[in-house]
Amino acid sequence: MKLFLLLIATLLLLPQLQAATVPHGTVVLIKGNVKIQERPRTILQKGDYISQGETIVTASSSLIKVSFPNASTIFLGPNSSVKLFMLEEKGTNLINLLKGQIEAQYQKNPDGKGLKAIVKTNTAALGVRGTQFLVTYNPVNNITSSVTFEGHVSLIKNQKRWNDICSQSASSCTKVLDQALQKTHLAQIIPAGGMSQVFPQQFRPSIPVALNKAQFISLVINSPIHQDRPTSQSVNFEALPAVTKEGRRSGGIIDLKTSLYLEPGEGAILNKKTNQFQARGEVGKISLQTGEYIPPTGWKMNPNGNFERDKAQDPIHGQNPNHWIRISNGENDNKRPLPPAVPNLGKILHKKMLQNNCSQNSPCQPKIPGQDLIENGGIKFFAFPRAIVRLRAVP
């Protein structure tokens, strides 16, 4: 009997002991449908452990925040997947972003030396010392984009052979990527407020470009990681040129779903105060709740950067957003023809909209204030002409 009880107690304690010994992360926030690929039957809850080698998968409208013993936190957004390759309390952590978006915060090592973590995707690797950043990876177009919220991040393009090494050994992978990230001719350092991308066809990551200020602030203040910060901490970013040496314009918007950068294009204006370009036309807006890019009503963007009519919704504005923005996918960027300036749409705009150049954000305006009261029906019954002596033309 004693032996049996001992066995039961051991069995009960074993997972706890195992969890205590195997490096792991702890779930601190979870919403929606989040699973561990290796343990599909486990229903994750706040406080659960996720061990080294496990893969977290989030469904749409789901998210998870995981903290690690080395005072770091990652936040995985919807439709994302990440594998926790190696979690060491004192060494370099290795995280593999398989798809989607990840935000992470790492505290600097006390001596300020050595990488705290490497976040890799199929096409890129990021070296992290002490910083807060966002990485997105879209497996359809194979583009990795990274935005630094705080501190600096170094970004390199991943080589195929490194991926082969990584698929065999986590420690060898860390070593190879660590060495590569030290090589300045391969890496791009992304300062706070900057964004860099890795394209499959290009050898080096793009030169960091300043992200649209409003989107940057919205991304930072809405980040679940940022919400843990001291209240006095403000949003900071470093000054970057209005146009990079590669000719890319600052002030563009990143689409987290496709990992594409929507660069201000045709007719963009330069804001002298922010030193950023601003796109013309109806190109969509930025969510105040998440910082994500929202395409104009009735349009959706493909991972190849082309906008298409959303069949579920009629566009309020007929102009194809591609006319006003440039989207790099790494190949033949300058040869892409602009879509025509004249909208070619069927049923969308009604008379008043056409006449007054209305748009989603700028609903039809009267010729002078109050004119709509007269023109838009109804009120003319009692406004003009007056009701009591009815003129023949009314109603």
Binding site: K213, A214, I217, S218, I221, T231, S234, V235, I269, N271, K272, K273, T274, Q278, R280, G281, E282, K285, I286, L288, D314, K347, L349, H350, K351, M353, L354, N356, N357, S359, Q360, N361, S362, P363, Q365, P366, K367, I368, P369, G370, Q371, L373, N376, G377, G378, I379, F381, F382, A383, F384, P385, R386, A387, I388, V389, R390, L391, R392, A393, P395
Partner: protein, 371 residues
């Protein structure tokens, strides 16, 4: 325990302070972008960014400032898009009236029980000028000539008329209880000539003048609530037919997700006659649905229902009811030209059946040209 509560409260306070600070930082970023668009006269883009700034702003003072910037950008956009502030429209239409009504105040109209075709010629002019971010003036002049083609019956062509209308309005955009609102304060006057003696000569028939006070409050992006009061004095060539009318009304204009408009209005007319037998009260409800089909065509079905308390004439006329249903459409076939049509059917019921009970169907087709 006290310390714990203080700690909790302090945390909540700091949290909300931080939220406010973040929101205003974001609002200022949008505003900066909007200002830059506005400087470049890209008002559509500016309004979009200002709108996001207003949505993000936590500080009410900042929000108010942004709202004013939105209105300013809208006015600037209007000025930019408009080459001139003048409007001239000429319209010509033909109609068929199944029961020609004797002209006069609506509450006293009677049917002739005779049908006639006819023509209507319209001239309309308006001038508008906004002279600051939130103030504007508008002047309107209208001239309408009605002519019946039945020249055999004097009780038909005695309704030939020429009416002139003038109005002058002051418009003011403002915040009403922190909600966007616009006011219109209008003075107006009408003067009409009519061949009321059936001598093929137009002579002075009536005039009226008064004020309109309208406050339109934007309760949401798609809904306006409109309060209005009209005070009107009406004089007729027969002094006994003079009236003073006070008309309060409440209206609602709802824009549907497809861009169409549903308009409803409730009004009551308090009519006091020069002669007390002309006193009456009119209660009216109307609903119209402005439907846009494609880019250039709009169709508006509408219904109107009236109840009229005839006061001292109650013994003979009773409480009268007036039902009106119609369908109007407008098709813009070029930048300047549009084709308009309307079909109205009216039924009026009264205790006094000979004069005040009548049915009328009116079909009108016409074209107008905007200069």
């Amino acid at each position: 325990m006290k310390f714990f509560l203080i700690f909790i409260l302090a945390n909540l306070l700091l949290g909300s302070l931080s939220f406010a600070q973040d929101s205003d930082t974001l609002a200022n970023a949008f505003k900066e972008q909007a200002d830059s668009y506005a400087e470049s006269e890209l008002y559509d883009e500016a309004i979009g960014q200002y709108q996001q700034a207003a949505d993000a702003a936590f500080n009410q003072e900042l929000k108010h400032k942004i709202m004013l910037s939105i209105e300013h950008a809208k006015l600037k956009k209007i000025e930019l898009n408009k080459e001139h502030n003048w409007d001239f429209t000429f319209g010509q239409s033909a109609f068929y009236d199944s029961n020609v009504l004797r002209q006069g105040p609506e509450s006293q109209q009677t049917g002739t029980q005779k049908a006639s075709p006819g023509t209507v010629t319209n001239l309309y002019q308006s001038y508008a000028k906004s002279f600051s971010k939130i103030h504007a003036l508008q002047q309107q002049l209208g001239l309408i000539y009605n002519r019946y083609t039945d020249r055999a019956h004097s009780n038909i062509y005695s309704n030939d008329s020429l009416q002139g209308s003038f109005s002058f309005s002051y418009l003011w955009l403002h915040l009403f209880m922190r909600t966007k609102a616009q006011a219109r304060y209008e003075v107006f006057a009408d003067y009409s000539l009519q061949d009321y003696e059936g001598k093929n000569t137009l002579r002075y028939f009536s005039k009226d003048y008064g004020i309109n006070l309208i406050e339109s409050i934007q309760t949401s992006q798609s809904h306006d609530l409109i309060f209005a009061v009209r005070i009107q004095k009406y004089d007729n060539e027969n002094r006994e037919n003079g009236l003073t009318t006070i008309t309060p009304s409440l209206s609602s204009s709802l824009k549907t997700s497809s861009g169409n408009t549903i308009y409803q209005s409730l009004e009551s007319q308090f009519i006091t006659g020069e002669v007390s037998t002309n006193d009456s009260r009119v209660y009216q409800y109307q609903i119209s649905y402005i439907r846009y089909l494609g880019d250039n065509l709009s169709i508006t079905p509408y219904l109107q229902f009236q109840l009229q308390d005839t006061k001292e004439q109650k013994d003979t006329r009773g409480t009268e009811s007036n039902y009106l249903g119609g369908l109007s459409s407008s098709y813009k076939f070029s930048k300047k030209w549009s084709f308009d049509s309307s079909l109205v059917h009216r039924r009026r019921y009264s205790k006094e059946k000979t004069l005040y009970t009548y049915y009328q169907t009116l079909l009108q087709l016409g074209a107008s040209y905007e200069f």
